[in-house]
């Protein structure tokens, strides 16, 4: 799973999968895990990113999530948009089944 980490990445956030159901989650400013990418807290530059990932790690111990990692984000019109195709697909769901995954759910 090397392809989504990028040494030159500037703005990054932390994502993982939830232990219980495996669903994609994002690390928030409150130190919580949200289902929605819009809730991510951003880190600017390598130092901030490393610090952010370190802050997320205890959730592995508490068995909330597995395999947290950093990914690169852009902001377009105030919306968070991951840079890689992979993260765009994780954020939304399979591109060939628009009826499934987060893209099909309505945020309550």
């Amino acid at each position: 799973m090397a392809q989504h980490s990028n040494k030159l990445a500037k703005i990054q956030a932390v994502t993982a999968n939830r232990l219980l159901d495996g669903h994609v989650v994002y690390f928030t400013a409150e130190g919580q895990w949200s289902d929605w990418v819009d809730d991510v807290v951003l880190a600017d530059g390598k130092e901030e990113a490393d610090a952010l990932l370190a802050k997320a790690l205890p959730s592995v111990e508490t068995r909330h999530i597995v395999d947290p990692y950093l990914f690169e984000v852009d902001q377009e019109d105030g919306k968070m948009v991951p840079k890689s195709v992979r993260e765009k697909i994780r954020m939304a769901g399979p591109t060939i089944r628009l009826d499934l995954g987060k893209q099909a759910a309505v945020r309550s």
């Binding site: 219980l20 840079k83 195709v85 992979r86 697909i89 399979p94 060939i96 995954g101």
Partner: protein, 553 residues
């Protein structure tokens, strides 16, 4: 087909309880993810992009109607109403929750199914020729021997932490429909000296990063020695296979590094010692016991000719096309083998909805002795259908999106899950496959092109068999963007070959045009409509394709 006895039942039930314990120890924190991962994998549980994935074993691709109904019910109850039939003849669910897995396994166990050894560095589910027991050309039914191997390999304590995964395929005849030469061990049934069934053991094939064609190591191994020979081979691999590098740890690398001759020597030396111990000899009673389960069903005595069928074909062009492409010759007069295409134009190769699974279970019950096969090309088979029932069968299939007459044609592709689901993927596979089927949707055009095996993988792991596609497509990642590399001339039958890369990779927007160009070049240069794509390619080589594809550069 095989039915569990009390011992098989007991073991599967105990295994579910063992896994239930493992899941609960993971959830309670007694186990870390690193410790849990190999355990969950050994029971077919992956973590993909969006959720967990459960891979259910369909041993040698054989299912009963009752089992198929159960697979459908599980899809409805615990998943999102569909499943994915894979090139390893298994079924995958893409959305189960961790905590539901023990319950799903309980339900599977009710119908004699499980997820045992569908992943992990152990001996995986054994695959076999989907026409077993029906093909006119087979020496013996490969399912008998696959079941024997299944039992020997299940929870084998010595071979649970091999250097890497280990895949078996078995074919009952020299016409290889099970791609045995690209498996860690491929077994071909042959006639031994005494006229009894014997086994040619091909070792060290595989795909992935370094595709290799298996070498014939064991020749005409006898029935009683089969398991001893396999155990010897596995032991040599377990003790000598590399463990220092993930990409170098398959048995194919060992065979390649030491050479087929040396491998044969090591295996035979070990085999002689295992044989001397004598405990692994396969008794005739056990073979007979298992053989009885695979006895031919009660065929009716019928005429080989079926005028009703001829009439139906004459009046319905699409049905006639389906009979021509999707059925194969049966050994019993008046019967035929019917292939159910899971490749509708624009569909997801290998996916079936819960409703479709129920339909297949029903038609199998009605027309084919309640038995279904899954093929490594991601289709389904009803092995014993009366010719006079074909029209009714096809009409039901057609009404449910499974009557496409495209077996072996360009729209009948093997496609891995790719970046739409898979955490290891570089690029998406499914949408590329869909676009190609749409481009070639016209049936007359497909039939004019003839047999063409197109196979797509979303990364070099090659789950979509791209190396052995007549046309192979491999997804690659260039700085977060998807690209597609094309190979030509691969094949996975008795003359197995690995495809050659045609040139620089194509973008998502170029790839379908590139495939069309390749097909056009072939149509131009073939000597006659009978010259298949692969034959033409083998005659002319890669140059004419390259020239046309990169003409503008």
């Amino acid at each position: 087909m095989y039915r569990y006895d009390q011992f098989d039942h007991k073991l599967v039930t105990e295994r579910v309880n063992q896994f239930r314990g493992q899941v609960s120890r993971r959830m309670s924190g007694e186990m870390t993810e690193d410790e849990f991962k190999p355990l969950r994998l050994m029971n077919g549980v992956y973590l993909q992009l969006h959720a967990y994935m459960l891979r259910v074993a369909v041993p040698y691709g054989t299912l009963s109607s009752v089992q198929m109904h159960k697979l459908a019910d599980i899809a409805t109850k615990y998943d999102k109403g569909y499943g994915h039939f894979t090139t390893r003849q298994n079924l995958q669910y893409n959305w189960p929750a961790l905590e539901d897995l023990p319950k799903i396994l309980d339900e599977l166990a009710e119908v004699e199914m499980h997820a045992i050894q569908t992943s992990g560095n152990c001996i995986r589910n054994v695959t076999a020729d989907q026409y077993a027991g029906a093909a006119a050309d087979e020496i013996d039914d490969p399912r008998i021997w696959s079941e024997i191997i299944r039992q020997w390999s299940t929870f084998h304590p010595e071979f649970t932490f091999l250097p890497r995964k280990f895949k078996f395929a078995v074919t009952g005849c020299s016409n290889d429909r099970a791609a045995i030469r690209v498996h860690d061990i491929g077994i071909e049934l042959v006639r031994g000296k005494d006229g009894d069934v014997a086994f040619d053991i091909h070792v060290g094939g595989g795909q992935g990063r370094t595709p290799m064609i298996a070498k014939l190591i064991g020749e005409a191994i006898s029935r009683e020695d089969l398991l001893a020979y396999l155990e010897a081979t596995l032991r040599v691999y377990n003790m000598s296979g590399r463990r220092d590098h993930l990409y170098k740890s398959r048995i194919k690398i060992l065979v390649h590094d030491i050479g087929a001759e040396e491998m044969k020597r090591l295996v035979e030396e070990e085999f002689a010692l295992v044989k001397k111990q004598g405990v692994l000899q396969l008794p005739q009673e056990e073979v007979d016991r298992i053989r009885a389960y695979f006895a031919a069903p009660d065929f009716e005595t019928l005429d080989a000719e079926c005028p009703e069928l001829d009439a139906a074909m004459a009046s319905n062009k699409r049905f006639a096309a389906w009979v021509n492409t999707n059925t194969a010759q049966h050994k019993q007069a008046g019967y035929t083998i019917a292939n159910i295409s899971l490749k509708p134009i624009g569909g997801v190769a290998g996916d079936a909805s819960d409703a479709q699974m129920h339909v297949v279970a029903d038609v199998a019950e009605k027309y084919s002795f309640s038995e279904i096969r899954v093929t490594h090309e991601q289709n389904l088979v009803l092995a014993h259908v009366k010719k006079s029932d074909l029209l009714a069968l096809w009409e039901t299939l057609e009404a449910n999106g499974m009557g496409t007459p495209n077996l072996g044609l360009i729209t009948d592709q093997i496609v891995c899950p790719g970046l739409d689901y898979c955490a290891l993927a570089n690029a998406r596979s499914i949408p590329i496959g869909q676009e190609i089927t749409e481009r070639f949707a016209d049936l007359d055009r497909q039939h004019n092109i003839g047999e063409l095996k197109l196979k797509i993988s979303g990364c070099i792991n090659a789950c979509g068999h791209h190396h052995v596609g007549h046309i192979g497509i491999l997804g690659v990642d260039k700085k977060g963007t998807e690209y597609y590399q094309v190979t030509l001339g691969g094949s996975a039958d008795e003359i197995t070959s690995v495809g050659k890369i045609v040139g620089r990779a194509f973008t998502e927007h170029e790839i379908v045009d590139a495939i069309e160009t390749i097909v056009e070049v072939y149509l131009d240069l073939r000597e006659s409509p009978d010259e298949r794509f692969l034959d033409a390619y083998r005659r002319v080589g890669i140059a004419p394709f390259k020239e046309k594809l990169y003409a503008d550069n």
